[in-house]
Amino acid sequence: MVRLTIDRRAIEAQPGQTIMQAAQDNGIQIPHLCHEPRLIPTGACRLCQVHVGALDRPPVLACATPVSEGIEVVTESPELAARRKLILELLLSEHRVACTTCDADGECVLQDLAYRYDAREWTYGTFPHSEPVPLNYTSENRAIEYDLEKCVRCGRCVRFCDEVQGACALTFDSRGIGARINTAYGRPLHQSDCELCGGCVRVCPTGAMREKAARGLGRRKDLTRVRTTCTYCGVGCTMELNVNPRLNRIARVTTEPGMGSNDGNLCVKGHFAFDFVNSPERLTKPLIRENGSFREAGWQEAIARASQGLAAARDQYGPEGLAFLSSARCTNEENYLMQKLARMAGKTNNVDQCATTCHAPTVAGLALSLGSGAMTNAIGEIKNVQTLFLIGANPTEAHPIVGLEMKKAMRKGARLIVCDPRDTWMARHAQIHIKHRPGTDNMLVNAMMNHILAANLHDQAFVAERCERFDALCENVKDYTVARAAEVCGVDAELIRRAAEWYAKGAPSAIFYTLGITEHTCGTENVQNLANLAMLCGQIGKESSGINPIRGQNNVQGACDMGAINTVLTGYQKVSDEAVRAKFAKAWGGALPANPGGRVTDFIEKAEAGELKAFYVLGEDPVLSEPNQAKVIESLKKLDFLVVQEIFMTETAKLADVILPATCFAEKDGTFTNTERRVQRVRKAVEPPGEARPDWRILCDMSTAMGYPMNYVGASEIFDEIAALTPSFGGISYERIDKLGLQWPCPTRDHPGTGFLHKGRFTRGKGLMHAIRHRPPAEEPDAAYPFMLSTGRTLYHYNIGNMTRKTASIAQKQNENFVELHRLDAERLGIADGGLARVSTRRGSLVIRAHVGDKVRPGGLWMPFHFVESVTNKLTNDAFDNITRTAEYKCCAARIEDAGAPRA
């Protein structure tokens, strides 16, 4: 610790901190324009000059001067004020002082400092300003506007783009008085390397960088900031919706460093993709199907109709006659109510949510191996990982803020191993990229363990003390030599050996995986095998070391935690456990159903077979998200009764008998649980459109109408009920998570939450090792369908796209489906980059744009699934994981042929 005084206050600082950092840590604000806590200091603006020691010595820059023992810092004096005023007046002489019409009015650092130091814009004359703003790289862009004449050239945006985002789309163009912010060669922003994260806007201290869509929607004094949790992806970024109450509109989104796990960062979806909230396509009234079309109805009639349809199926066909699909997009409270409704009003365990589509194998696999199916480390621990092992994960696109934390680790010297059939950003920046064939993960992981055992690199003490069935593992991996894996996986044997050695020796290493592991017919086995690898090397149960599934949807962790799964109640308490049943029966005032229940993929098959008669879908669109679309539609059409609770007219809703208009995350209170098990607040910011109602209220009305009364005054009361019934949530309350969320398990009121799991002991006691055999995918390339098709996500869209595709600036960046193929295959088949290609599988066929390159392996195809007009799931295979019934989206046999001319 270094002791110093700032403005006569005694301060303790970390060695190596700057005076600026020490001051900010202690709540002392030193004026500045160019400093930003996430960026390397440049000392460009000279406003943070402070006295150190005698007042007559030349001042130093607080942002660039490290603290030293015993110094006396003075941050304000007549001398400093005069210097600051001079700098500000020089800046103002070049600045378009247009505060009256500037969106940044009231949150402009230049404006605040000019007021504070009484700096005038005319002291040094004013530059002539151009009207309208001269054309630049943002003129054609729909997201961001750059106004050179409001720019103070602090360079925050350029440095953020480089040092934090790593996109490096922006640079200083020219120097001296001609310096300006630009993309390379002035390319339009959306055609540059820009990832539209909005970071340049968030760090800009003036009105130079602003969101175009927010123009005129309000200045600081017109806007209310509502702190909430992002509704996209499982990272769960803390953000503030800046709402204009007069317009009932979200004007823009802000966030600050230190506010949550995202530390002031957002991705394109979190910063820009909220036009859907105010979309004219929102459902505003209940709809009832009559004579083949929908008519508007009142709530009373809609609830009566919907509840009667479900109750009729229940009464006539019993627990297997109806099913409930809860939603990972909805809050914990709503998921809790949905499974309670299913079990108590529906009298069935047929309740599921989209985890089956994505991470169900994680929940099942990690529970079998370790006893707890969740990410074992916290997001904040990622930056201290020394060896990052990514397999089947593309964080810079699917979980961009986790990607940023990994970039932090890489800047600190972390080694990166990426196993992925595709050249993702991370793969391109990895020291080791194992570009293996899709569906050969267990071959690869077994061979790594074979090599680790042969080289005696495993953690013998850890295995002996904390694991069981080690012998079975050893016996199993004997057959999986590195040479054999190299051949089957199609990669260099040396890479496998080196990856195994690096992972085993990493200090520490951590595994990160997503759907590249789970969306296979062997998904659960893949997960178990990664758990084997972590246990074998003792790389788990420590800070920054463990096995980390990064969850997909915003609240898929919570939807699982809340028991919207057929086999478990809240906090993974087993439905089959008599003590658990008794506890819930007492609390809920009735017996729990005893039927085994199924998964969403079972529901669809049972509807097809005519066994399932009624289906209640909350905030999901299985017609787009489930594999083999034609079959899904056919199955759902066989239902007697379908209720859909939605914010938009989805493809599934179009098949419904009753549609209940619901609210989105910005219109209701509740909690989401992110991928690191952190329970975070969601807050109402705007009024819902028309007669749309919060989902939890609709669920209460539905349950009551079905004969099981539910009545809550608000989300907080529901949460307290959850906490009372769920040991791992017992210590969490709205009061405690008001500012920052808590990570479960958090059993008691004084428990600080749990950063990383399995410290000293696995949740299930000893870690269970499994002998996992390599099994090929259900469908492999053959003569008729010689390619292997995988599907996945892009940075710009979320899930089925019905939210992200409402934002014009995102549409400008990416607005159509495409297929990636290797240039050798493209040459052979005469398919041009940007031309049209027909992709066919045994289930369907699509004509889409070809992206030719070397991202995928020769023989591989890759497609996103975000586009309703071009449904990738017409092609995917309805073959399922043997344990969790998750579909094999990552592998199916396909054919591709030229289908037309290149883009004009």
Partner: protein
């Protein structure tokens, strides 16, 4: 801001790979050198060439662009075969450089910073060439022409243009020496 795409598509990008290879392993410290090599090879820093440089080096194109626009030595637009730099330093100024500049501007028909339509000459001014003993002085490519009169300056340019017809001219190459 953007060059004619028809011109851009005609670049032979093969030499860029050689330039990148000559700097291996490529780091940010190689940006200036690689840009100089590219400019030597192509005459100026055309967008497709620098895009290729960025792609092959693995560094963001914005980094190259930032450096290229920072230094006066780099040209983003097609540049003349010969670069004429008229010195406007103090010594040259008092010995008549404004008249030299006027004569050159009239002869070439272009302003400071421009290139003749036939792409033979680009005209620049410099604050000081460091050869005040030759003032007023003008640098054409790497040749210094000192103790100039406006007529002599024009003659130098005429001779440069006439060189293609086989006419020679008197000039000093490399390090200037004081004319006796």
């Amino acid at each position: 801001m953007q060059n004619d795409s028809a011109v851009e598509s005609s670049f032979d990008l093969a030499p860029v790979a050689e330039i990148v290879a000559s700097h291996a392993p490529f780091s940010e410290g190689d940006i200036i050198g690689a840009l100089q090599d590219v400019q030597d090879r192509y005459g100026y820093l055309a967008r497709p060439v620098v895009d290729e440089l960025a792609r092959l080096s693995g560094l963001p194109v914005a980094k190259f662009y930032g450096v290229a626009t920072f230094y006066a030595q780099f040209h983003l637009k097609p540049h003349g075969k010969h670069t004429v730099r008229v010195c406007r330093g103090t010594a040259c100024h008092v010995r008549g450089s404004p008249k030299i500049m006027d004569a050159v501007v009239r002869r070439l028909g272009i302003e400071d910073g421009a290139t003749t339509p036939d792409r033979l000459f680009s005209l620049e001014t410099v604050a000081c060439l460091g050869t005040c003993f030759l003032s007023p002085v003008m640098l054409v490519d790497s040749r210094y022409f000192g103790n100039l009169t406006p007529d002599q300056a024009v003659k130098v340019l005429d001779n440069m243009g006439a060189k293609r017809a086989g006419q020679g001219t008197t000039h000093q190459e490399g390090t200037p020496t004081c004319p006796s």
